[in-house]
């Protein structure tokens, strides 16, 4: 286990290469088992989660290899079911549900259970698969799904907090091999879903309406192998963008197709952020930006992504006045607030709304990262703070940010990873 010691307050600046999208990678890896030929994915980030997904695929009988950003998967003969611990450790493994039902006609998978950021049931996933003809049984914490034949149907994937991304993906995957046409209404429109649809199209799937809230999928008998390059990680892009604004520094980020960012860039530009596209780079002029307080809310794409809510909180501590953010997707996703307050941030909570007053000079502190995106938020705060911070739980960040420490050091951050001493019980000291 490791912690990170951060010496805050150093000037930041330079260039950041944005990695391939973790979320798109996980969805693509899961969907690759729909074909029995090799699927080759490029621009795959080298993360614990992507490697873990690869190892899960191996336990299902797939051939999996990964080297310098390229993953090769061949699901020639697959069998079995994902382990309980795999689904518990990585909820994204629930995206195997649809592809396994489509290929094997049956699957028994553990229900994902609780998550620190909030309730995340899979009832919409099961509703979608049921509509395609699956028989669903839930017993002893496991869901069994089976169908002799999947048959196209009209399905709505909308839920109380918007459309479900992983639910949409499970149904899309199952529908590609179903008999007849499937119409998915209120489909999630996140760029990662769009990227998956493009990959499936290369594999021979027939999908109309990619990027829209209504998808029409004409089932085929089988899919074939393909090569596909993943989209860049818009959350990593957004994190560094927010860091540049909070730190009042200049950062050149690898160019991102701005429609992938949804409302983020436009919202910040409207409120005083200065950006420029120069050649292959998206330049954030943090020092020239004069940000005004903002009142923002997280929504499904193309709205402000929930995954950037935590880093936005850190940014707001550096904006003069009162800013607020309402979390609509996971209303309890505020575990980072307490840690920011320990660093001196002035934050009050009103239900799912965080009200943050700036400008606050944060001060270094010992912190524990509660989840992945909170980790990015606390890293940002530590870099901006006066003095030294000691951040525990950095394994959370390793799940979703490729070479995060190295990328930060390259732009001037002073930080060092240290091994944590363990007590006899194996807990961190």
């Amino acid at each position: 286990m490791y912690c990170v010691r951060v010496d805050g307050g150093h000037a930041l600046g330079g260039q950041v290469a944005i990695s391939g999208s973790k979320n798109a990678g996980l969805l693509a890896l899961a969907a690759s088992i729909l074909a029995d030929e090799a699927v080759i994915l490029h621009h795959v980030p080298d993360l614990k989660d992507t490697r873990f997904m690869g190892q899960i695929l191996e336990t299902l009988g797939c051939e999996f290899s990964f080297q310098t950003g390229t993953a090769r998967i061949r699901a020639r003969e697959i069998s079995g079911n994902p382990f309980y611990e795999c689904v518990r450790q990585m909820r994204a493994s629930v995206c195997l549900l649809g592809p396994l039902v489509a290929r094997l006609k049956q699957v028994r998978m553990p229900l994902p259970g609780g998550c620190i950021i909030g309730q995340r049931p899979i009832d919409l996933h099961l509703h979608g698969l049921k509509a395609l003809g699956c028989e669903i049984f839930i017993q002893n914490g496991f869901v069994s799904a089976s169908a002799d034949h999947l048959i196209g149907a009209t399905i709505s994937m909308g839920g109380p907090f918007g459309s479900t991304v992983t639910g949409t993906v499970n149904v899309i995957c199952a529908a590609t091999l179903a008999k007849g046409a499937t119409v998915i209404r209120n489909a999630a429109r996140e760029p990662e879903v769009v990227d998956l649809c493009r990959m499936l199209t290369k594999m021979g799937a027939k999908i109309d309406g990619i990027g829209e809230s209504t998808l029409t999928i004409e089932g085929v008998d089988q899919l074939h192998g393909a090569c596909h390059e993943l989209i860049p990680d818009r959350i990593e892009f957004g994190t560094f963008l927010l860091l540049a604004l909070a730190g009042r520094c200049e950062l050149k980020l690898s160019k991102m197709s701005l429609p992938l960012c949804g409302a983020l860039v436009d919202t910040l530009a409207t409120n005083g952020a200065v950006f420029e596209e120069i050649g292959d780079f998206f330049v954030v002029h943090g020092s020239r930006s004069n940000l005004r307080p903002m009142r923002l809310e997280t929504f499904p794409f193309p709205g402000l992504p929930t995954d950037l809510q935590a880093p936005l909180c850190t940014l707001f501590t550096q904006i003069s006045g009162a800013s607020s953010i309402v979390e609509h997707i996971y209303p309890n996703r505020f575990a980072h607030i307490v840690e920011l307050q320990r660093m001196g941030a002035v934050i009050s909570m009103d239900g799912p709304r965080a009200i943050i007053r700036g400008v606050t000079q944060l001060s270094g502190a010992k912190m524990v990262i509660p989840d992945l995106r909170a980790g990015a938020c606390l890293y940002m705060a530590a870099l901006l703070a006066n003095g030294e911070s000691l951040i525990h739980g950095v394994h959370h960040v390793d799940r979703g940010y490729e070479n995060f420490d190295e990328k930060l050091k390259k732009i001037g951050a002073v930080l060092q990873r240290e091994e944590v001493e363990r007590t006899n019980g194996g807990k961190e000291i």
Binding site: R51, F52, Q55, E58, T59, G80, F83, Y84, C86, Q89
Partner: protein, 123 residues
């Protein structure tokens, strides 16, 4: 081995050759008539340990199932700790989750009931 009197130098050489150290070495050096006993004990222990590990390796597939067995093996045995080598992190997580079940299965067999703890190494 028949009891025989050796001088201290010879006893030290023999202890070294047999890979005997610590208290057994001291016993051998101080009590020449125990040389045979100590060496026999060491050989017996080594053979027993090897046979116990072999027993576990032979029954491993039956204990954990075909799928997990194809990604793991019983690697080594020390006193009461069995070290399992795993080639897949997903399988490692599942083994850790089912640690008690595996220990319970080992406890049912006279040859393997001495195993009280599992350790894991990832290849």
């Amino acid at each position: 081995m028949a009891a025989k009197k050796f001088n201290i130098g010879q006893r030290r050489l023999m202890a070294d050759f047999c890979g005997i150290g610590g208290a057994d070495m001291t016993t051998m050096v101080r009590m020449p008539q125990a040389l045979g006993l100590v060496v026999s004990k060491a050989i017996r222990n080594a053979a027993q340990g090897s046979s116990r590990l072999k027993s576990i390796q032979n029954s491993w597939r039956g204990i954990v199932g075909e799928k997990i067995a194809s990604f793991s093996k019983a690697k080594s045995l020390t006193q009461t700790t069995l070290t399992i080598e795993v080639t897949n992190r997903a399988v490692l997580q599942e083994l850790k989750f089912n640690e008690q079940k595996i220990l319970d299965a080992l406890a049912k067999n006279a040859q393997t009931r001495f195993v009280k703890k599992l350790a894991f190494s990832q290849k």
